[in-house]
């Protein structure tokens, strides 16, 4: 169980695929318009429950509870050998007269 007062992430569908506007590409039309935000859980709940949260600005937002204590996992990426090649080339070209 996730306790009231925990910092969580919620997910909601803003528009179902069939409610989307006409002026978008076919592939996008097949998808729901989805939304995520974070906030303090307002009542005890389980992952997957419909819940309410109070966001950082004090807004109350509804959605499905998907994550407790959300954190970022983006990074500096995996090794890209081409970057080393660029650096070597630049040093080689500029080597003598820097």
């Amino acid at each position: 169980m996730v306790k009231k007062g925990e910092w969580v992430r919620i997910h909601a569908v803003v528009l179902k695929a069939d409610e989307r506007t006409g002026k978008i590409p076919e592939d996008t039309k097949k998808c729901d318009l989805e939304m995520w935000t974070k906030g303090t859980l307002l009542a005890d709940a389980e992952i997957g429950d419909e819940v309410e949260v109070e966001t950082a600005v004090g807004r109350i937002e509804k959605g499905t509870l998907i994550e407790v204590h959300p954190y970022y996992t983006h990074s500096y990426g995996k090794f890209v050998p081409e970057i080393i090649e660029i650096d070597k080339q630049l040093r080689a070209i500029m080597g003598g007269d820097r």
Partner: protein, 468 residues
């Protein structure tokens, strides 16, 4: 009774919501036809350039260093004919609070919101502007919500955009993240209506007035360092605000001979509203997917009339390839010791090529750098591209580049080429779109004059475009 919050109801109230959220009625600038009073809109901020500078100086914005990129200039000269290869300078806008020139826009918008008594600010942005508004809101004591287009339908986020979300949250903002699609505007309007916050639009006159100090500083710093105005200023171009504000600032400083060049990454063929193609991009801004539509139809933004009107000021519009910008980013780090971007380095890649057209004593300024971070760096962007099936290799970007299919890194710096786009074509496009939008087939004298100003052309050009 609570207002209906379905899509059609909220969108139907768009004009009223906007008026409330900007504290500005755009009707007073309208002529009822194609023309509107752009200068009156800009004056409506009520702030002079000096007052804007004062607002910014209180919030750690502006007076950023102008740095000569001596080694990159020397490298460019190796590929230029004898006596050619201009001196390249960079305005180090990463030094602003929040790490980009967007702090200039945000400082004014947030100060204005505060003055008008709003409790909070909202901006719809997936870029550096979100962090800028969040940072300024933190400084000036307002609440802040940023609405981002961040994920594809599999919940996979662009690493650059995820990083911006982190930065906004670091400044205490709420970040509402959405999947791909223009209906972001519906969510944005709905939250504006519910909260009564200020619309800190990228395209408001307050935002654009905030950039004028950048152009002004460039002129002043060049006069101090090299004793003259720059021959050329290159602006990375997406929504057109950088070009518009910088140009206006240069003009206010009296630097009227400086040529203004817009530079965008060529993403021809990729749809900006496509769920599948969203993560096939290896850059999320400074590209033609924003640059061309906003230049040729500035008024399709989140305000009734955009204050960013780049074709009024642009002398040239050049494109570079994604691989050129990645390479230029490494040049900046390895040869100048400046780890910046890559987002703002589109202008750098273009300037590296344009410098070779100008004599050695000419001065080219790139108008910005921006911060680097996790996700917002060429390694995660290239590694993300590779994970999405994008082919990355060394070659001739101009011969082989296919947006969404590959990222061709220039096999040596001589392959970094700024390619001139057909500016007159964009001008004609703006003229035709403006008339069509307003249902005007027989434009008035005022309309013709307006369209000439809109496109930095003359009435004859406008008439010819319209077959009059």
């Amino acid at each position: 009774m609570a207002l209906a919050k379905d899509y059609d109801s909220v969108m139907g109230r768009s004009n009223d919501i906007m008026k409330e959220a900007l504290g500005l009625d755009y009707k007073e600038f309208e002529s009822g036809s194609v023309a509107f009073d752009y200068e009156a809109l800009m004056k409506s901020t009520g702030y002079t350039l000096e007052e804007v500078a004062k607002i910014q100086s209180r919030t750690a914005v502006g007076n950023t260093p102008l740095i000569e990129l001596r080694n990159i200039s020397a490298l460019a000269r190796k590929y230029a004919k004898p006596g050619y290869g201009a001196r390249i300078f960079a305005k180090d806008e990463a030094a602003n609070a929040s790490g980009s020139f967007k702090a200039r826009r945000a400082a004014c918008a947030v100060a204005h919101a505060k003055k008008l008594g709003y409790k909070g600010v909202i901006a719809a942005t997936s870029g550096n502007y979100g962090a800028a508004v969040a940072s300024q809101a933190a400084m000036q004591g307002l609440k802040c919500i940023i609405v981002q287009e961040c994920y594809d339908s599999h919940g996979v986020g662009q690493p650059e955009i995820v990083e911006k979300a982190r930065k906004c949250e670091a400044y205490g903002a709420e970040v509402v993240q959405l999947t791909v699609g223009p209906e972001l505007f519906y969510t944005f309007l709905s939250i504006l209506e519910d909260t009564g916050y200020f619309n800190a639009s990228l395209y408001s006159p307050f935002g654009i007035a905030g950039i004028e100090t950048l152009g002004y500083e460039i002129a002043m710093q060049c006069r101090e360092i090299v004793g003259k105005d720059p021959e050329m200023v290159v602006c990375t171009n997406a929504g057109g605000g950088m070009m518009t504000g910088t140009a206006r600032g240069l003009i206010k400083a009296g630097a009227t001979d400086t040529k203004l060049v817009a530079a965008s990454i060529d993403l021809t063929g990729l749809s900006m509203a496509s769920d599948v193609q969203f993560n096939k991009k290896s850059c999320t801004t400074g590209h033609t997917g924003f640059g061309v539509p906003y230049a040729t139809d500035p008024d399709h933004s989140d305000v009734p009339r955009s204050a960013a009107r780049p074709l009024r000021y642009m002398d040239r519009y050049v494109t570079v390839k994604q691989g050129d910008v990645m390479y230029a980013t490494e040049m900046l780090a390895n040869l100048e010791g400046l780890e910046r971007g890559p987002a703002g380095n589109t202008a750098l890649a273009a300037a590296f090529s344009l410098a070779q057209e100008l004599p050695e004593d000419a001065v080219i300024v790139i108008s910005e750098t921006d911060y680097t971070g996790a996700g917002k760096h060429i390694q995660p962007q290239l590694s993300f591209a590779r994970d999405n099936g994008i082919d990355i290799y060394f070659g001739d970007p101009n011969a082989e580049d296919m947006p969404g299919v590959n990222v061709v890194l220039p096999k040596d710096p001589s392959y970094i080429k700024a390619i001139d786009a057909d500016l007159n074509h964009f001008r004609q496009s703006l003229i035709k779109k403006s008339c069509k939008k307003h249902g005007v087939t027989n434009p008035s004298e005022a309309d013709l004059k307006f369209l000439a100003e809109e496109t930095k052309t003359d009435v004859e050009f406008v008439k010819k475009t319209l077959g009059l």
